[in-house]
Symmetry: C2
Subunit: 159 residues, 2 copies
């Protein structure tokens, strides 16, 4: 089954909201902020705000990603949100989104991608994913999100 990546459109908002709510990685508050960033990205356009992409499998939206230039840096980007619907996990959707955004960022003279994720046990799959696709561990802040929920920073240098 192939994975197709394309720019997120306003009509995708409902499918992406379902991904955010059903993939069990995000709290209600995180889902609210992720949706606000989609609205801001759609309003401002990818060159002035967030760049948003969806992954389709079988003509259905199965994942999405939100990235943006890191303020006050020359060529660093942040991967703000990435989510894959539970029924589409382990099909290479996350990898396809990652490969796409790396090409996108390289094409805009970007040299590195930073991601902040949780240190909780239920995020171990996410952390392994970042390590597997070439992200380096940059640091950790204990109890950052809440007690028992560290922030773990990774970054990937784009060759």
């Amino acid at each position: 089954m192939g994975v197709t990546i394309r720019a997120l459109e306003p009509a995708d908002r409902r499918a992406v909201a379902a991904i955010l709510m059903e993939c069990e990685a995000f709290s209600l508050e995180e889902t609210r902020v992720a949706l606000e960033m989609i609205d801001a990205g759609l309003a401002d356009g990818p060159e002035h705000g967030y760049a948003l992409f969806v992954a389709e499998t079988n003509k259905t939206v199965a994942g999405y990603v939100c990235i943006g230039r890191t303020p006050l840096t020359i060529s660093t980007w942040h991967l703000y949100w990435i989510g894959v619907h539970p029924r589409a996990q382990r099909l290479g959707v996350g990898r396809a989104l990652q490969t796409y955004i790396e090409d996108y960022i390289r094409g805009r003279q970007g040299t590195r991608v930073v991601v902040e994720t949780s240190g909780r046990p239920d995020y171990e799959g996410s952390r392994r994913f970042y390590a597997a696709i070439g992200y380096q561990l940059a640091g950790r802040i204990a109890d950052y999100y809440k007690p028992g929920d560290d922030c773990v920073f990774y970054y990937k240098v784009l060759s």
Copy 2:
């Protein structure tokens, strides 16, 4: 000479702009963003955006600080900007601002402060300052701001 800390007021904007431009730590772009955050903080109020304070020595504004709650965290705050005028450095202005914001954050059930600073040699004084007042090194991202200019993360747990 005593240091007095108080909330930043609109009339302080010019003095703070002078600090940002004359303390030699900040680029023009950084100064622009720091001033935007002052305007946003004044517009939104400290409970809904950035909290801003100035330090006075001899009834003159000698330093300022900008902090805010870290989105999507329960009790983490960010120290976004801190600047001391060159003629007021080594007089305890930075420490007085730090002590003030730590009390302010504790008073709002905050438990930790995160700061991102530069790894450049000319920031060594800043990094030593953070270490001296109890910040822990959390990590580093090479060439984050630009080639040769790493980002260094510190955080302090408020007891």
